[in-house]
């Protein structure tokens, strides 16, 4: 199935599932149900899901939950996971103190 462009497509009723309270993004404590609900609220891309629910915005930057969320969103939309573009990875790759990041010039000298 090709990419969904029209945001008015009918995804059917949002029905609660027994494991909806399972935490998927551990850093930001976002549950499976919240991710599924976000899709029904119109968030169709992993980037939108991230901005809407904060999944992948915590300390691990989605390294733990990225693949799981892709699967949940793909199933909700009825597309293959490969159709979904991963949310962008951002620098720095590991959280780093301001005083360290701000010190890069001195080290170079």
């Amino acid at each position: 199935m090709s990419k969904i462009k029209d945001r008015l497509i009918n995804l059917g009723e949002f029905v609660l599932q027994p494991d909806d309270d399972m935490i998927i993004c551990r850093c930001e404590e976002v549950t499976k149900g919240e991710v599924r609900k976000a899709v029904h609220d119109g968030m169709f891309t992993l980037t939108e899901i991230r901005r809407y629910t904060r999944t992948g915005m915590g300390l691990c930057q989605g390294q733990t939950c990225g693949r799981l969320i892709k699967g949940i969103v793909a199933r909700e939309l009825g597309v293959a996971p490969i159709e979904l573009e991963a949310a962008v990875v951002r620098s720095p790759m590991r959280p780093i103190e301001m005083k360290v990041l701000g010190n890069e010039g001195k080290e170079a000298r």
Partner: protein
């Protein structure tokens, strides 16, 4: 899929989304076309979240004041979603005599335009924000300024507009606008043709290329700005921050993280490879700036940095305008990095303009044909 609507909006950023929402509320049918795969993928999701009135051009100030008074305070309620709006004031900080002079100038300007801004000394600033460093000599203080969460505000407008039946189409790049019987009507994308009684271009810098297809040009350039975010900190303060030296700007969010924007001085010459990537110098530079004003944040960890383009108009004021030569066309672009805070007001105004109602505020300062050569 329906390809005709009362209004076709090009650009699914916060300007396009808010306009779509206010139009849908009036009962209009609306289609929003977004080039990116994601809604609100330009400056709308990448800015520092300021909802400022202070520091605005006098032409823009009435829009900012209207928003801060009438729209932002009730926006979360109106859109059924918390947009994390805080109206806790704006501190613009100074560390040197030169900075204080700049701040006094800005304060004088703002006061003469009827905005409540005052100069305060170190102790008064400390009373508002106890985390300031000893280096801070004084500040300008606008108690009615604030900030909101740009990611959520942009998506909240989208979500609500979608619920009201607005058709959003993503990955839909507009290549041309065509006139029918002398009136802008057809919007041609790489794959489809849409038709609207009114066409609004609200596509950031990309507006320039689209407007060119119908013979209109707006003098603007893209500029890359960068933002960083820390891990969550305990709740500390909720004022919006800025500095006279423009070292950085930012705030603490509901989540606890601090969001700071800033520059490295290389913005004019940043390499442009077609995606808004961060420059390796900028985040470090912003950190050094912040720590001079807030030494207590030196151990706060940066978890993410990102960049986004703004569409800088030659006179740093947006274009919000009908186009006389092209009936049916409305331009809303060149926001010059000030678009987020005034987006609710602009959406309201554009909705009035699109249906031919009198706008609640005068928009003649934002005309598309105000640009004149210097001699």
């Amino acid at each position: 899929m329906e390809h005709c609507a009362d209004v076709v909006i090009i650009g699914g950023g916060i300007i396009g989304n808010s306009t779509a929402y206010y139009l849908a509320k009036k009962g209009c049918s609306v289609i929003v076309l977004e080039k990116s795969e994601d809604i609100g993928n330009g400056g709308s999701s990448r800015n520092g979240g300021g909802v400022r009135q202070s520091g605005r051009d006098k032409r823009e100030l009435p829009l900012a004041m209207y928003g801060a008074k009438k729209l932002w305070p009730t926006l979360s309620e109106e859109l059924d979603m918390d947009v994390e709006y805080y109206q806790e004031g704006n501190l613009r900080l100074g560390k040197t005599e030169g900075h204080i002079k700049i701040l006094e100038g800005l304060t004088k300007n703002a006061t003469s335009l009827g905005l409540d801004v005052t100069m305060i000394n170190h102790d008064e600033a400390k009373a508002i924000n106890p985390y300031l460093s000893a280096e801070v000599m004084g500040a300008s203080w606008c108690p009615t300024d604030g900030h909101a969460n740009p990611l959520l505000a942009t998506l909240a407008y989208y979500r609500k507009a979608r619920k009201l039946g607005v058709r959003f189409v993503t990955s839909e790049e507009v290549v041309e606008i065509r006139k029918i019987k002398g009136k802008a009507r057809q919007v041609i994308t790489t794959e489809n043709t849409y038709e609207g009684e009114t066409v609004i271009i609200a596509a950031g810098y990309a507006s320039r290329k689209i407007a060119a297809t119908i013979g209109v040009d707006i003098p603007m350039n893209p500029a890359l700005l960068e933002v960083l975010v820390t891990e969550a900190q305990p709740p500390m303060f909720y004022q919006m921050l800025g500095t006279a030296a423009a070292d950085f700007y930012g705030h603490q969010s509901t989540h606890g993280s601090f969001v700071f924007g800033g520059t490295s001085g290389f913005e004019e010459v940043n390499k442009d490879n077609g995606t808004p990537v961060t420059n390796s110098l900028t985040a470090s530079c912003i950190c050094r700036g912040i720590m001079k004003y807030f030494p207590c944040l030196e151990d706060a960890k940066i978890v993410r940095t990102w960049a986004g383009w703004i569409d800088v108009c030659v006179d740093h004021v947006p274009v919000i305008s009908h186009v006389e030569e092209v009936p049916g066309l409305i331009l809303a672009c060149a926001f010059s990095g000030h678009g987020f805070g005034i987006a609710p007001t602009v959406g309201t105004l554009l909705a009035h303009m699109a249906v031919g109602e009198k706008t609640i505020l005068d928009v003649s300062d934002f005309r598309y044909d105000r640009f004149k050569a210097k001699i």
